[in-house]
Symmetry: D2
Subunit: 141 residues, 4 copies
Amino acid sequence: MALRFTVPEMEAFLAEVFPQVEGMFGIDRMDEELLVMRLHEDERHLRPGGTVSGPAMFSLADVAAYVATMARIGRQALTVTTHCSIDFMRKPVAGRDVLAEARMLKLGRSLSVTDVLLFSEGTDEPVAHASLTYAIPPAKG
Amino acid sequence: MALRFTVPEMEAFLAEVFPQVEGMFGIDRMDEELLVMRLHEDERHLRPGGTVSGPAMFSLADVAAYVATMARIGRQALTVTTHCSIDFMRKPVAGRDVLAEARMLKLGRSLSVTDVLLFSEGTDEPVAHASLTYAIPPAKG
Amino acid sequence: MALRFTVPEMEAFLAEVFPQVEGMFGIDRMDEELLVMRLHEDERHLRPGGTVSGPAMFSLADVAAYVATMARIGRQALTVTTHCSIDFMRKPVAGRDVLAEARMLKLGRSLSVTDVLLFSEGTDEPVAHASLTYAIPPAKG
Amino acid sequence: MALRFTVPEMEAFLAEVFPQVEGMFGIDRMDEELLVMRLHEDERHLRPGGTVSGPAMFSLADVAAYVATMARIGRQALTVTTHCSIDFMRKPVAGRDVLAEARMLKLGRSLSVTDVLLFSEGTDEPVAHASLTYAIPPAKG
């Protein structure tokens, strides 16, 4: 299905609805097959040893599933995460951005399910793997 | 089993290992049966409408499972989250702290499993429910 | 909220909708606070060593969440599991029935979330812990 | 990494360790990149309407993650599932086998993480998506 946002439109939308996290995330690629988002390295997200924290990786997976859903359904401010299951599998590489590859597994009328793999930039083995469900509010008649 | 930290000792330990989140969390109760932690309301964690964000709730559940584990095994800096499954069930009440009730379901040699219920302070129905697994590094001979 | 089934009514309903598993499960207690169901020991569910298999424990958690939901909403044949997260924490005790304690965490219009703890009968430490989401079809106008 | 079983060897191993489910599963493909397993249509697994049950899909995902792990580490009878998160996304097509595509995301010394997508044979959209963790016992010195 055709996406309802260009990358600059989506970036403007994110800055508008989540001003608290402005500058935290970028969109590297957004098309029907794959969304790639980036968590910019930033000392606020770091753990001792310089690796990205679990909550920061959760945030990246969560925003990627949100963007993947919004790109398909258009602006729906009330769309909310109802479930996330995340496996942290490897320690992220210090000093690298973390990238999220998000694929929409299901887009129904009332929910979306998105699969997200997280990688340290430039590496092949995922640092984390998440599945997120977003609830989509009923369309107004 | 007896806990290896008092509340002030645990607060000092958290400030030491996670300086980035200093002031974000408090410990209301910590004993063998139950741990209660608090996410202080703070505009950094808010979503439009004034409710606490999903990532901030994840952070609270994650730190509560960490504290519950550390309280039992003692300082083990390399203990890391390997899995979290979280259901977001209700919108948190605006303007209230979010409290986490954490119960240790299993403490094995190599992993702990903690159940966490999150509530808006002063309400009875949970806003979220999480289960977290921490991997405990092998003790050095 | 008052339940819409008595135990014998629920047992008859299960036998009607799931004839394949007749005799596999029993209901020990069903009230507003707690549902307790039982997986009868049966060699079909066993693994080498005589312990109950993971799929049999999943089945018990799944049917318990279904019964807890049906008890509150009444017969809705199209209600289906949309998510299950389950931690297997200990080996079940050989030769004992497995019991499920199910608590409804959320009952909304379109979904229910149920927490389930599984125990080998006569023991205190849970063998598994699950959280299940059921999707409830829209009521017909 | 090279696999330690051929398909006939793995089928013989499964028949040996899980005699209760003999004939329930088949292996369509097993190599380093991908494992494809099959749940043979069988009235024991069916729900009203002729679709495959949730527990039967869980069983398929669980055995696929087990086979993917065993194929890499060799016979380790004590390897057990510690976690499964599964999303049921669509109703399986009546009268078709269900196929599992399993990919190993992580193989560590003490655990494996496997991603599994389930499809009704001949269709493109997954009916379910699971992530499973197996605990691998320490090698004997």
